[in-house]
Symmetry: C2
Subunit: 531 residues, 2 copies
Amino acid sequence: MLGGMQDWPLRIMRLLDHAEREHGQREIVSRWSAGGETRTNWAGIARDSRRLANALERLGLRRGDRVATLAMNHSRHLVSWYGTIGMGAIIHTINPRLFDEQLAYIANHAEDRVLFYDAAFAPVVERLKPQLATVEHYVCFDPVAGDGFEELLAGQSENYRWVEGDEREPAMLCYTSGTTGSPKGVLYEHRSTVLHAMAEVQPDVFGLSRRAVAMPIVPMFHAAAWGLPFAAPIAGCKVVFTADYQPKTIYDLMHQEGVTHTAAVPTVWLGMMQYVDANGGDFGKLELLTIGGSAAPPAMIEYFMKRDVQVSHAWGMTEMSPIGTSGGLPHDWEEMSWEDRLDLTAKQGRAPFGVELRVIDEQGNPRPCDGQSSGRLQARGPWVIHQYFKEEQKAVDEEGWFDTGDVAVIHPDGTMQITDRAKDVIKSGGEWISSIELENAAVGCPGVAEAAAVGVHHPKWDERPLLLVVKKPGSDVTPEAILQHLSNQVAKWWLPDEILFVESLPHTATGKLLKTALREQYKTHKLPSAA
Amino acid sequence: MLGGMQDWPLRIMRLLDHAEREHGQREIVSRWSAGGETRTNWAGIARDSRRLANALERLGLRRGDRVATLAMNHSRHLVSWYGTIGMGAIIHTINPRLFDEQLAYIANHAEDRVLFYDAAFAPVVERLKPQLATVEHYVCFDPVAGDGFEELLAGQSENYRWVEGDEREPAMLCYTSGTTGSPKGVLYEHRSTVLHAMAEVQPDVFGLSRRAVAMPIVPMFHAAAWGLPFAAPIAGCKVVFTADYQPKTIYDLMHQEGVTHTAAVPTVWLGMMQYVDANGGDFGKLELLTIGGSAAPPAMIEYFMKRDVQVSHAWGMTEMSPIGTSGGLPHDWEEMSWEDRLDLTAKQGRAPFGVELRVIDEQGNPRPCDGQSSGRLQARGPWVIHQYFKEEQKAVDEEGWFDTGDVAVIHPDGTMQITDRAKDVIKSGGEWISSIELENAAVGCPGVAEAAAVGVHHPKWDERPLLLVVKKPGSDVTPEAILQHLSNQVAKWWLPDEILFVESLPHTATGKLLKTALREQYKTHKLPSAA
């Protein structure tokens, strides 16, 4: 027996239909990388998406085909998403910061038929063209001269009936910029995206109402700008896009447009903090700052908390659409001490409804949520990956759990705390040392600009920590001073066996420490303790 | 081609699993009708629901069977919902305020096998027993003596694996207390309920975070307490139930428990206003007051707005799970005048994502959203009815639209405004006169306690308005004074042809004016103008 309610598939285009119908006049602002702003609204996005759907059909695109973008955040990029999805094709955002061979691999693996790109990436596109086997049409979003995206839309009818179908059909393709192996594609569905967006608007995640002015500073090629372009139409909020990440640009947009909600990786906020410290000023109407992508240093959290900006430390990954946890305030926030608030905000928050999390030991047994028992973090839910694009094997175990590759503890109140990446954890005498905790502690030492902890082979302990440190300019910090500092923060057996100063550390295209390269480089390094 | 994300059916029990896992210690408070309070938490609700699921299986209940309740709001009632749904059966809330023959009809039509009831309704149950053909087990939630609900749970295992299945399976049955014909059952599904709950927590609907303390004063038999018992576990908020609706009890609970969010029909708020006016005091931590069930008088909205309590005027119906619209603040609220804010709040708000609304003319053509064009209000969406329980015919037209029976206009900003019930509208000379607007205007006249406007046959105009008025005690208001008052508020041709004073007006079991009875009573009434 089935129930008596309506059949209303969770299709992404219903998000845009809702925004057009209920919030059509709410603005979408775009700051272009070449400077200057343009303004449209949800009705305009919907109208242009229908024109693009017609244009793509005219180009011969069919249901399920892939349409790629190589672009920063702006309204035309948004139109390319909804127009592509609306005609039944799959939008494939490519990270322009990847190396050429990765870009070519991804576009060929996805079999992209169209590539929309920013003028800023035209040189990349020119270099890549000979290698892109399947791309038939190249369209520039903002050409300096000649035809581009607007010319593709010109003359197209504003009438189009979105392609309907099963809510489990794919709508979007995002490749993970893994640190090992070939990039792998995550194929988001209409259903997964709509449910994720519904979860995101709730108060304890992004808290988007129609009064909000949201500025995603996270790029649209980075896990769909954390889903904000799909959550915003549910709320009917105003959206501010910027293709330019200069602190001054972000600062000016925030004030000019009255931004209340924003989200970005810690690097962006570091730049903003430096800018405001140097130039004075405040954060205007900003209410909620979501920090994700990598762990935010406590000093950053405190900086914004002191300025009455709520900080939500979120955690997720491309394989999770990406939201896994978020840092809404607990019910006893008012009664907490400043230190307890900082401590809690530095952790990764709690899972919203729709995400199940657990940590397991090396035998695969669930560990207690006691804030002590660390283990591999696993996830389940309607917006968590089941299978990578074109892969034969499932990405989950027999019980449907996806292994995130993170090591974490879960506290009794449900707060999750990432302690390390599973592959970065340092295995010393059968116990685990968190490389991230060592690095965070080292960065708190005066004179230390950046630090990386890697496990190096040790004849007795299997692995022992080696700490690589980049000094701040002009600093004369010594290994002894760093060890002294660390000894107040971590267990004695966690202390690195050696500290080496280096000029710089390698990073991935998305700004994370490239530990694989470091491990490779120091594979045969002899620790003094191993002598 | 399907996408690569997980299969995770939207089953109601996942709401409770989430609350137990992430917010297990958050309290559930119950104030009993006999006085006294009990406290449990989400973990306790989940544990008792598993015990009840075991108990129901022991009683021989099977998947799809119906379990009825005749009860006010309290934690045991909540356990009866989740325990029943968890073992695959259907929870059927019955409105104890209905007449005996309606109660018997409903229980027999639903083929309820178990009836859980409050001690306060024991006399009703005793009277009904001989007529209830299918009920095998009667269990009192709070017996004064003898075995009851707790004894049913006693000794049952706390381990139970919720019955899994299709997300379109039925989970709950609610009959509409229609003013005509037999009551009809609306069969909510797992999917419809979960999506409705996800929509409800968003800022512009109930805005529930884990910090919230929600007190649904709307009864659990009234469209599932507007869905709050399903939305609360998503947020992980504290819930305060009361089986006693005395203003003093509500007032004391609000302050004692720190209630931030509450929802009820206007009658409850009238009582609260009178109580606070008579005794002094304030509304404590109350942030958001949701008013629904029938239209709130502007004076009530202003009363709470002046006390810094946000008022959300919501509209819905049992057939819509029930939320159709809600009154979140618009983005330009700060710039609006006090009068404009009042005007806007008095309307019914906007549709959340998941509800499509339109108004149509008498030929079925959609009318523009211009704030002027009134017509029959239709709805579509995943939590809108498709077919009544055991009915052969669909409840929707060929395009899937459900006719709400309301007459409304939609404003350019998406705000919906109910102008009348379709069957109550007064059709004069081919034009429509809103009976509700006449009544609201009349109630604003000093000395008028309550008013009902009904259309009475007229030889020239087809129908003309007759206004029935209940005077306030001691008032000497005259028909002339009322007409004078009305003439400043409505068009001249809307003015009633006759005003009659009556001792009282008939109401439905849920407190709405029983217009059918009035139309019947005055069917052959001769208006002076018809002479």
